[in-house]
């Protein structure tokens, strides 16, 4: 599975919004996804997220991730079919394995919920600069910089590590270690040859990063920023709409809309 989570420069309206507005939007999408369990409501939510991806111009980059998520959703549906036996039966795979409406709906709802939440977060990462995210989390949301930095660095290093894994695999197969076969037993045995150099190289990297940060004065005192982030009218309206939507959704949910009776 390939994960796209690195900032992609662009000048879409989504790119130019402040990170805080986007964080609130992402959180609202997550709240909505958890609030409802009716597949149709979740489908609408999912499409709204896709629309945002389209506006941001990152839909193409997300295709491969989307494919993997889709596969995962199918597995979720399959699991539901195996374990949910209540409700109206649509058809039978075998005599003992009925496919119920409940199972399909529940699986679909879970899949859509996951896809909407993951995608909205990825859109946020793809359209926001690393340093802007850090600034928002520490300055606007007042989170402690140390923890923010740990979390953000972990995210930032995912593509680096994927690349590192590729290089280690190549280097090991060049000395006759067979990783490119299909035999799972051989692959498991060869695992150490990839995992160990990877850990060692990563430790070296972490060490260097820490040194680079220290030499630039990280941790020496309170942090100030060169550019202050200001909320624009567009940002404020997005935040307003998101929060309104969340409140409305909670009210709707309390009145019994958006749920599916299993």
């Amino acid at each position: 599975m390939t994960v796209a989570n690195e900032y992609i420069p662009g000048n879409s309206p989504i790119h130019s919004m402040t990170p805080l507005a986007k964080i609130i939007w992402t959180s609202v999408v997550m709240i909505l996804a958890l609030l409802f369990n009716h597949p149709l409501y979740l489908l609408a939510l999912f499409f709204s997220v896709l629309l945002v991806a389209k506006i941001a111009g990152v839909l193409k980059v997300l295709i491969s991730t989307l494919k993997s998520l889709f596969l995962f959703s199918l597995i979720l549906i399959l699991l539901q079919v195996l374990f949910t036996k209540e409700g109206e039966v649509i058809f039978y795979i075998t005599e003992y394995l009925p496919v119920t409406k409940n199972a399909v709906y529940l699986g679909t709802a879970m899949g859509l919920r996951m896809m909407a939440a993951v995608l909205s977060f990825l859109i946020f990462l793809l359209t926001t600069r690393f340093k802007d995210i850090i600034q928002t989390l520490t300055n606007n949301l007042k989170l402690p910089i140390d923890y923010v930095f740990i979390f953000m660095t972990a995210l930032r290093f995912i593509p680096t590590f994927l690349n590192e894994i590729k290089q280690v695999k190549e280097a090991q197969s060049c000395r006759g270690c067979s990783l490119d076969g299909w035999n799972p037993l051989v692959k498991i045995k060869a695992y150490a040859a990839v995992a160990l150099p990877l850990v060692l190289v990563s430790l070296q990297k972490a060490d260097k990063l820490a040194m680079a940060m220290e030499t630039r004065g990280c941790g020496s005192g309170p942090r100030t920023c060169y550019r202050e982030q200001k909320m624009s009218a567009a940002d404020l309206s997005l935040v307003f709409i998101s929060i309104l939507l969340a409140v409305f959704a909670v009210l709707a949910r309390l009145n019994g809309y958006g749920t599916y009776q299993y």
């Binding site: 190549e170 197969s173 000395r175 150099p197």
Partner: protein
């Protein structure tokens, strides 16, 4: 014509997508026992081309034959016995706690008798000059020594061809010379050497044939002397030509040959010119 080809590259293209190529129509034949330098500026496609020699990359179009085997149909770990590839960063492959274990790792996959494993490991240790460090921890060695461990761990498989991707980057002069002399003696023992570099003075001292890559295409291909005499073409690639060759090129106006490589040669040529004047 090259009499005993070991690697044949035919119309090799490697594309990122339809409009962007990394390599464009590469044709190259490398004979067994050659010492070839692959040069070009950063991003010229040297690494990409070299990764085709042992099947790490498969051509988008065209084909690569190693010992008359099409790399498309052979696993990298099997080709490793014909073409050894030493990467720029040795730390991507080191994970044992002694130099000896590290070097013999690749032999596990060949089901060789114990004496043979020992013999090959000893030979490789000797070839890279690390006999005294047999039981040392690889991470206690210097960068240059780790590079040699990486070289040895490929050598134990007895590949005919050795591809070395920038073997001297990050090394000081003494360590560079050590590894280059090792590479030279491996070439004398019959190994085919393909060395990627952009250090032209290494090339003029050690290589016999040079292939210059520029923007995914072969710009020049020939003996070192001949390639170094095409200085206008070389200047396109921003490669730094050794000062003595540049001097020879400048002095060609007074009648000395363009294709000189060493101070000694230029000195002789100058003496000859002066002798003729008298």
């Amino acid at each position: 014509m090259i009499s005993n080809p070991i690697i044949q590259v035919k119309d090799l293209c490697q594309n990122l997508d339809e409009n962007h190529f990394i390599l464009n129509k590469i044709n190259l034949t490398i004979g067994s026992g050659e010492f070839l330098a692959l040069v070009g500026q950063n991003g010229a496609g040297k690494t990409t081309l070299a990764k085709h020699f042992n099947g790490l990359l498969k051509p988008t179009s065209g084909k690569v034959l190693v010992d008359n085997l099409n790399t498309k149909y052979v696993k990298v770990s099997e080709l490793a016995q014909k073409v050894g590839y030493v990467f720029q960063n040795p730390d991507h492959q080191i994970f044992h706690n002694s130099v000896e274990k590290e070097i013999s790792f690749g032999l596990k996959y060949l089901n060789l008798p114990a004496e043979e494993v020992k013999r090959r490991t000893d030979d490789a240790l000797k070839a890279v000059g690390l006999v005294d460090y047999r039981y040392a921890h690889p991470y206690s060695l210097s960068r240059g020594q780790r590079q040699r461990v990486a070289l040895a761990s490929v050598l134990v498989l007895k590949p005919n061809v050795l591809v070395l991707d920038e073997p001297t980057t990050g090394l000081d002069y003494r360590e560079s010379m050590q590894i280059m002399n090792m590479i030279r003696s491996l070439n004398n023992q019959g190994h085919t050497i393909i060395m990627i570099t952009h250090d032209m003075s290494l090339v003029s001292t050690f290589a016999k044939r040079v292939v210059v890559l520029n923007k995914g295409e072969i710009l020049l291909d020939g003996p070192v002397r001949e390639v170094l005499s095409h200085q206008e073409i070389l200047s396109e690639t921003f490669l730094e030509i050794p000062p003595i060759s540049r001097l020879a090129d400048k002095l060609s106006v007074i009648g000395i040959p363009k294709n000189l490589l060493t101070v000694e040669e230029v000195y002789r040529a100058l003496c000859d010119v002066r002798g003729a004047e008298k």
